[in-house]
């Protein structure tokens, strides 16, 4: 939780963090500010001190919404700095950062960089800044970053925001089911009243419409993939594909709050009208794996323990898994889940590689999403909910929705 940030900074021997980039769709900045509509800004937080937000003068009102201590970047008079260094833009930016760090009292030690922003120019700026700073080491933290460790457990305020996104998500899934069921099938294909076939593009258009209506954004798009595409986990689906009966549809939806805030993540697999036997069998195997794992989840256990478990369950039914063959593209081909928050994928990880030892702790929000994929057979099944470990260790699904496979349709 955010209140743990100083603790993790101390553990990592960080003297300060520096966050840069836009105020929205920039998880570290949104985490520190709550989310403000800023084109570009910087934030410096010394360990055990309050963060200071550096903003451009035109954006002073937006910056103020953060409730943080503010510094107006205009006070550094960039044009004067630029004149001092004969118009060398890079050098002027570096000088300004030096002044900002000095002003905050960061004089030595380690400073970690954060921000979802332009890599190229910032790589150049911070490499140049590093050459100017003899007492300060600039670094970027990898997977184990102190902010990601803080963010791995959520406080009540964050849970409310994620829960609200879960409610919006399942409302949109329900609207989507009703929408699809409202069309009439002819020769196993759904048709609109005007005689045109319904397409995946039509369905996705409605999904975006409903999400916006309910106040959410969908920056990463939606997976709505049918048939062979449903057998490739991250295939998003082709816009002009038709909606055919008896084929698996993997519907994976992961919207976020307006302005790039908290995400929800949710998947159902649907088969319209009826499910062929091989699809039914695949579905029941995935559902039973989901149920087995979800009833065994325990607070404090490493997340990847359950990845191991689900691999063994699928293998016992004769499916290839990435545990046995890391390059397999059929059977069980991904990890069991991941944390969600300001990133749609964040810690805890459930992967089995040696760096991933994340545990299910109170405050953790994570997905559980077993799946089986057979692209050559034109089918795939994935079922996913987002869960929260409550302070007392109980584990709760943040938004309920039926797991049903078959959606009824009208036949002409």
């Amino acid at each position: 939780m955010k209140t743990d940030l100083d603790h993790f900074m101390q553990e990592k021997e960080l003297d300060a963090i520096l966050v840069t980039g836009p105020g929205q769709h920039n998880p570290p900045m949104v985490y520190m500010t709550g989310g403000c509509q800023l084109t570009n800004a910087d934030l410096i937080k010394k360990r055990a001190e309050q963060a200071v937000l550096f903003h451009y003068p035109m954006e002073r009102d937006e910056a103020a919404k953060s409730g943080l201590k503010l510094k107006n970047l205009a006070e550094y008079n960039f044009n004067a700095l630029l004149n001092q260094v004969n118009g060398n833009y890079l050098q002027a930016v570096v000088m300004r950062y030096k002044m900002m760090l000095e002003e905050i009292g960061v004089k030595s030690g380690k400073v970690a960089l954060y921000g979802k922003t332009e890599l190229g120019s910032n790589f150049e700026v911070f490499s140049a800044l590093q050459r100017e700073l003899s007492e300060i080491t600039l670094l970027g933290e990898m997977n184990n970053s102190s902010m990601m460790l803080a963010r791995m457990t959520k406080d009540d305020h964050e849970i409310e925001r994620i829960r609200k996104m879960g409610k919006i998500t399942t409302q949109v899934v329900s609207l989507t089911a009703d929408y699809i069921s409202s069309f009439t099938a002819k020769d196993n294909i759904l048709y609109k009243p005007n005689g045109d076939p319904l397409t995946i593009g039509d369905v996705k258009g409605r999904i975006n419409h409903w999400l916006a209506e309910l106040g959410a954004e969908n920056p990463e798009g939606t997976i709505f993939a049918i048939g062979r595409d449903s057998g490739v986990p991250h295939s998003s689906g082709r816009s002009d594909d038709l909606i055919r009966l008896g084929q698996t549809i993997v519907f994976d939806i992961f919207p976020c709050e307006s302005g790039g805030g908290y995400f929800y993540d949710f998947t159902r697999t649907w088969c319209l009208g009826y499910a062929p036997d091989d699809v039914l069998e695949l579905y029941h195997t995935v559902l039973s794996a989901y149920n087995t794992v979800s009833t065994q989840l325990e607070v404090g256990k490493p997340f990847n323990h359950y990845q191991d478990l689900v691999c063994d369950i699928f293998a016992s039914h004769g499916h290839p898994t990435i545990k046995d063959d890391p390059t397999t593209q059929s059977g069980y081909v991904h990890s069991l889940g991941h944390g969600i928050g300001l990133n749609v994928h964040e810690r805890p990880w459930s992967g089995i590689s040696s760096d991933d030892k994340d545990c299910l702790l109170p405050g953790t929000v994570f997905t559980l999403e077993p799946g089986l994929y057979y692209p050559a057979k034109g089918m795939g099944v994935r079922l996913e909910n987002s869960l929260w470990v409550q302070p007392d260790g109980k584990i709760e699904i943040l938004a309920d929705y039926p797991m049903d496979l078959v959606l009824p349709v009208k036949n002409s």
Copy 2:
């Protein structure tokens, strides 16, 4: 244009560019791939050679939509690399990049980094990679980057995409005008049929709804700011603010294609019911400056020539400008415009600082947005269109819309 990229790479003596990060809402990646729904990917382009897209195995179908040469990252067997370096994740990522560069045949020279992505971890990775590479210099290009120079002029395909966003934008502006005019004023405030006052939050909700309906995204939000807030250029407006008659509303809308593609940028200033004399005068000064500048625009001229011109026009009417006082927060406080494309703000810049010498060239798409701001008087006016320099040098507004100040409303 993209066909100029090799030329600019040669001019900058770049041997390759490396783009990293997600496939959407990542301008350099979208520019090179056309836009694919990829969680994370890398792209390496040697000068005068085709780009190669490195993708994760689950995203092979999405990667294929780019039409580029593909490499599946699974072929580098990350888990084996991780074992080789005793689980040191950073080191394994660095080794994989070394293998990728070798495979593409990048053995020496300069490689420029690109991508809107996590700064921290990438700063660490590319700093570590640099230490391992003796013959290659990794660098980040600043404002003058070869890709930004290529992107500064758009080809016909890009113009069509921006024009389509312009059409959606003005449709939404028209819907917004009709929506606001449909309410009834009482005591100078607009009320909904249920008796509640209309709020800026209500209006913004409708704007997002219509944008989604028309297939656009709104990742940076909308400015809909009234009264004092309209006097602060980047104030986005307060959700619970009421809509009052006779106050300036700055409505600045800048949506993009779904998935983080091309933007449009557009501003009108409205006054509901009537405009007080001081607002009328401010509006006419801004409109006349807009008209003077727009009729003087000439292909080949530096953009900041017109910034200079508009400062002089406003100064001649007695308004403070940033030309005379760079720190002023009233009068004319920003630059005349900016390029638009995959970033809502990109080159050409119209600022007067020494690094900004961008010219209006055939293919340039840019905004023209003079404005005057008096926060203490509770008013601000900005008028903005997006323009394109045609191949023959003619300058065209990409989406027409009336400049009218006063929106009629019904009185109870």
